[in-house]
Amino acid sequence: MPGRKTNQVFDAARHLAGGMTASYRDRMVTVLYARAEAIAFRAVEKNAKARWDLDQRLDAILTSRVWGYPIMLALLAFVFWLTLEGADYPSTLLANLFFAFQDMLSGLFYRLGAPEWLHGIVVLGMYRTLAWVVAVMLPPMAIFFPMFTLLEDLGYLPRIAFNLDNFFKKAGAHGKQALTMCMGFGCNAAGVVGCRIIDSPRERLLAILTNNFSPCNGRFPTLITLAGIFMGGFLTTVSGTVLAALTVTGIVGLGIILMFFTSWLLSRTILKGVPSFFVLELPPYRPPQVLQVIARSILDRTIYVLARAALVAAPAGALTWVLANVHLDDLSIIAHLTGWLQPLGKTVGLDGYILLAFVLGLPANEIVLPILLMSYLSTGMLTEVDSLAALGEILVGNGWTWVTALNVMLFSLLHWPCGTTLLTIYKETKSLKWPLLAAVIPTAMGLAACFLVKLLAGLLGAKLGG
């Protein structure tokens, strides 16, 4: 059989090469590069030296000792500000449109004499959740994604990695984790798959386990909406919008800090080791093709993410409606469930509804807020959610203060990854241990952080809801 025979030849090769393999290899690589140099020398008529001038000047600013980090933060804040500022009006418009249509749908159901439960599941459950997801998510995504993609196309992402690499190194992590982290801002599942670019298994696990600290686009709408209501004063003033943008930036910044901290902790406990070889190419800046970027990021990312959210939102909406309207012992199932979660929720400055919404939102983070809203509404509160103000009224009506809002934002950043991401982690690591750990670490941090905020706010004399 060939196996043995090939082995003999391979052994012969090893013998032949002996201790010379390193030297053979060096000489081969040297010859290859010399040949490439010679060919380029003959075929290229003008050398490419000049092209580096502009890149150098840009790098001198974007990776400068003084301006490097402020520019990074400012860009982040600017993107959020633009998203908040730009998304508010179209969101309201869409919501009005969808809810007007909901009234028409309801009318149709009544005229046809459809049973109440059918109307409830289809219109109040599925349609309303779907409408909410689209109205709230579409405008911010249609602004945020193209902005992010523009930065990406320009070549700014590797500069972020360049600026942050030292922290990754000190945390015992691989420099490419900066890139998978950025992918996580789009989608954590994609970020986890992206961790394959990291060769060392230890560092890959670090990147996988901490990817969830990048809030994905399923969580941004929650962050942006709540910041808009509670920190931004419904975005009616410029200072309000700026404050909201800064809040979201702060949450993202906290996520990055905790990502470093967790990596550091893991690489000193269960994933001990030293950083492996790292090299990062800083590609030349390229003028982004603006129109194409906008078209592509809307088509590729926005529609894709929206479709995924909608796919999950409709059944989740139906389920939530059923849970809210099927009564056991005079109480709806939701009321039973939230009753159990209430003590834990209240202890950490959230409530049972919020925790339940996060639990039911496991399939996709996008539906957390709609589910929450529906469970609140099922208790007989307001009906239409056509603006941030109306949304704010519902939340305040259920005992929310800015502390609750801050805690929900924190918990949105710090809780288990969505179902898809957990499944992806399992697929990538082939072990139940790692997805479990990826869920436990942020959740523990989230509960602790919320508890701390509640405690501090209590000390500051802030009025707690409930």
């Binding site: 391979f10 053979y24 092209r51 890139l179 394959r196 990062l280």
Partner: protein
């Protein structure tokens, strides 16, 4: 733990990357990170794979199809690598596909503004296979930066067809398809200029290649395998053994063997 080899190893290679069925030709797309490989991929297949300007974003091999001159082609986008010497996961994946995936054509996308660095990969690919087309991409940027490239001279030096393109603008893609089709169908037969190493390496490689020839049964380039063995590439040995083992298990091959033995 399942993280080490599985993601890149040969078993996944068979599942994930060998295009199913054998309708049409298989074209591998190789290139350094940032050579605009994904843009070329999109431009050829019309597939909207996102193309960011940062290295290493293609982790999964995107696959797309296009038809040209009545032939159908499956294009496989390989991870961006500087070299094929398999010192990283990406390099190993790219190398394994070019070597064991046996593509009908391998297109190497190079950045016209940074030719010297990118030629290194072209040279290494020509050591594995002669069916190579060089896609000299980002010509628009080269023009902007006043870099002039003598394309015929480059093609002459390499012994390969070289097609200048500006994939973002759609420039040169029709010709690229023509050339890919010509190489795939055998009407164009590239003869890459061999790379000559120093005498000691050449002698050792020659001896080893002769020994390897019968074992590899012409399925792999013996000189290239010999060179890799000389530089002590252990990852390749496993790959070759699995590759040859699989071939022997193939019913078609068994039948052939029977005929030969009879």
């Amino acid at each position: 733990m399942g993280l080490t080899r599985q993601a890149t190893g040969f078993s996944t290679l068979q599942e994930n990357f060998l295009p199913d069925g054998s309708n049409g030709y298989v074209v591998a797309l190789a290139g350094n990170p940032n050579a605009g490989k994904s843009t070329v991929f999109n431009a050829l297949t019309g597939l909207k794979q996102h193309t960011g300007n940062w290295p290493g974003k293609t982790v999964l091999q995107a696959r797309g199809k296009f038809t040209h001159q009545g032939h159908s082609f499956t294009l496989v986008d390989l991870p961006g690598t500087y070299s094929l010497l398999a010192s990283s996961v990406e390099e190993q994946v790219a190398r394994d596909f070019i070597c064991f995936g046996r593509p009908d054509v391998t297109v190497v996308v190079v950045d016209a503004t940074c030719l010297e660095r990118h030629l290194n990969l072209v040279l290494q690919v020509t050591e594995v296979t002669s069916k190579v087309v060089v896609c000299l991409n980002l010509m628009d940027e080269a023009r902007r930066k006043k870099i002039v490239i003598d394309v015929p001279a480059l093609a002459g030096e390499l012994g390969l067809p070289v097609v200048p393109t500006a994939a973002r603008k759609g420039e040169g893609l029709a010709r690229l398809k023509d050339v890919i089709a010509a190489v795939a169908t055998g009407t164009l037969h590239p003869v890459p200029t061999p790379i000559v190493y120093d005498a000691a390496i050449e002698a050792a490689a020659g001896r080893l290649a002769r020994q390897l020839q019968p074992l590899l049964r012409g399925r792999l380039n013996a000189r290239w395998v010999a060179l890799r063995l000389l530089e002590g590439d252990a990852t390749l040995i496993e790959g070759i053994q699995e590759f040859l083992g699989r071939e022997l298990d193939d019913p078609g091959v068994k039948l052939q063997l029977k005929e030969v033995l009879a």
